[in-house]
């Protein structure tokens, strides 16, 4: 009975097109933001900040990027990690080679470089569809990593191919504690997530979805397929690129091209599918799920029942449960956790009546 919209009338189209048209959601969202911006940095342990929250946020951003491309524009891609790599290495080189380059500017440029590369590898999408496209994007995955390994210029001739992120310094303030890095990440991710939400509820997003749902019809109502798809590739790669830069700068500190491998791409794909294809919220839920679940399983299996299991078996069991849970979740709700959330809300709205 608490979650009702009764009595909340929309008097203007502006009110009606808010991100959260229902008051309870709005309040909840603001409370959530306040919690993550104000409370978490004060109470969370370093472990939570550095090893859980920061990566979850970064992966959410990457998932958001992929979700824009796959979930909204319907172009399946398996190359997200490569675009993250472009973002990371481009940011590094902008910082390295241009004196006095402000960090946020470098990240922006890094994202834009990723966008440019994204457009390049998006070109085939004009003719190639579905899983064919997915496999074709693997070309980007392998090619980009290869280039970064092969041409030492990108890693500033470091003998190991590894780059070490420079200090982050914004307006004289050094971001070198877990709290500050977390806050910076959170800020960037929040801003970009809002921007993404804005895009998908505007004409841009509608065009993407139109192309996704039925490209012939989209073309017939006047949508330029080429432009729309490439735009989606660009925006998506931009997001992935920024995520890559954050991955290098606020999370790991040192990265190598091979770190951005196919496994990472797949992980990001898992995130959007488990979280919800075509859902901003889903990107966050999915990232949290995919990052946290193995950790959780690992802790449970190794710390609590570890002694009882033969060595190695625990790790295998972890894999099995992880795989099993993915399947289980898909069966319970093929449209991901975001849909589960939505159905939950719908039920709550009807509660206590069953229908």
């Amino acid at each position: 009975m608490l979650y009702r919209e009764a009595g909340q009338f929309k008097a203007s189209y502006q009110e009606d097109s808010q991100i959260f048209p229902i008051r309870q959601d709005r309040v909840g969202f603001i409370a959530l933001l306040a919690f993550f911006f104000l409370i978490v940095p004060m109470v969370a342990s370093q472990y939570w900040l550095q090893a859980i929250l920061t990566p979850v946020l970064i992966f959410s951003l990457a998932a958001l990027g992929l979700n824009i491309l796959t979930g909204y524009a319907g172009q399946l891609s398996l190359g997200s990690a490569a675009f993250m790599a472009v973002g990371a290495f481009a940011t590094y080189n902008f910082m390295l080679r241009i004196d006095g380059m402000p960090f946020l500017m470098a990240i922006l440029l890094g994202g834009l470089s990723a966008a440019a590369v994204g457009i390049l590898f998006g070109l085939p999408s004009l003719r190639i569809k579905g899983f064919y496209l997915a496999v074709a994007t693997l070309a980007a995955q392998f090619f980009i990593v290869w280039v970064l390994v092969k041409f030492p210029w990108f890693s500033n001739y470091s003998s190991s191919g590894v780059i070490t992120a420079q200090e982050i310094n914004i307006l004289g303030y050094a971001f070198n504690t877990p709290e500050s890095k977390y806050l910076l990440t959170l800020l960037v991710v929040t801003v970009l997530a809002l921007a993404a939400k804005n895009m998908v509820r505007s004409t841009t997003g509608r065009k993407w979805m139109a192309v996704r749902d039925m490209d012939v019809a989209a073309e017939v109502i006047g949508i330029r397929l080429m432009r729309t798809k490439l735009q989606a590739f660009a925006v998506s790669s931009f997001y992935c690129g920024v995520a890559g830069a954050l991955y290098a700068y606020t999370y790991l500190g040192t990265v190598e091209p091979e770190g951005f491998n196919l496994t990472l791409s797949f992980q990001i794909l898992f995130m959007i599918i488990i979280g919800g294809v075509g859902s901003i919220l889903g990107s966050f839920l999915g990232a949290a799920f995919i990052v946290l679940l193995p950790v959780f399983l690992n802790i449970v299996l190794h710390s609590f029942v570890g002694a009882a299991l033969p060595p190695g078996f625990g790790s295998n069991l972890e894999l099995m449960i992880f795989g099993g849970l993915i399947i289980f979740f898909l069966i319970v709700e093929p449209h991901g956790m975001a849909r589960l959330w939505q159905i939950g809300k719908e039920k709550l709205r009807l509660w206590p009546f069953p229908h």
Binding site: D213, A217, V220
Partner: protein, 260 residues
């Protein structure tokens, strides 16, 4: 009732189209005048849908000329047709399934909106103003087609008849000059057909939109169309007012059958 028709909006001359061995259209010519409701009828597989596809650039005929608003064209991509004011609905519903009714219709209006990506990202300001402005127009269409109550429903969940109506709404949102309707009333009961006819007639009257209509319900075709083209196996076998066509023996043999 006498109706006034303007000049020729679109003129199709000697159109031929084939797919591999299948001849979908053979040497077909006809024209559509401003403000008229032009029906295309014919047995299944006669090439009616293909004809619409030719008009808005989904298919490129191997032969023939198309003159639209005085401009001749041979090849044209569908999005260009759309930008010149040709809208359509589809025989097999082609709505954007993952979107709500409102979003579908708003998408239909995208050509009138010109904010860029960056202002969309920001949303506040120009993009929002534009969005609201066009939302008003779209709401007019929604009111017009009486689908207010399903605005926020995902189209996938709607029953067939309403989906057809939403498709019409999407086409109308673009404020087209020429509207192509491919079996808009298939799968509807009489009541719904009556509604649909009402809408089509109103569009035609109020906005002066020219309409090309494919329909199998002869009641509808005979009642609301001004002129009728009859196709059979890709050939034109009749053209004229409903009454002329109704009494054309070729048409009776090939299409109407004796019961009508």
């Amino acid at each position: 009732m006498e109706r006034k028709f303007g000049e020729v909006v679109i003129d199709l001359q000697n159109i031929s189209l084939s797919f591999g061995g299948v001849k979908a259209l053979t040497n077909i010519s006809f024209d559509v005048r401003k403000h008229e409701i032009r029906a295309i009828i014919g047995p299944n597989g006669a090439g009616k849908s293909s004809m619409l596809n030719v008009i808005n650039g989904v298919y490129h005929p191997q032969e023939g000329r198309i003159v639209f608003n005085g401009q001749e064209r041979r090849e044209m991509e569908p999005y260009m047709a759309a930008s010149q004011g040709i809208s359509r609905t589809f025989q097999n519903i082609a709505l954007f399934k993952g979107m709500t009714v409102l979003d579908n219709i708003m998408t239909g209006r995208h050509m009138k909106m010109n904010c860029g990506l960056l202002s969309h990202m920001l949303h506040w300001g120009r993009a929002q103003k534009e969005e609201i402005e066009h939302r008003k127009k779209v709401e007019e269409v929604i009111d017009f087609l009486e689908i207010q109550s399903i605005r926020k429903t995902p189209v996938g969940r709607l029953p067939y008849g309403l989906q057809k109506r939403v498709e019409l709404a999407r086409a109308l949102a673009a404020e087209p000059e020429l509207l192509l309707l491919d079996e808009p009333m298939a799968g509807m009961n009489v009541e719904e057909k009556q509604d649909m006819c009402r809408f089509i007639l109103d569009v035609n009257d109020q906005f002066g939109t020219t309409i090309v209509l494919i329909e199998h319900d002869m009641g509808v075709v005979m009642d609301i169309s001004d002129r009728v083209v009859v196709l059979d196996y890709g050939k034109k076998i009749g053209d004229g007012t409903p009454d002329e066509v109704k009494s054309n023996p070729d048409v009776i043999a090939a299409y109407l059958g004796t019961s009508h």
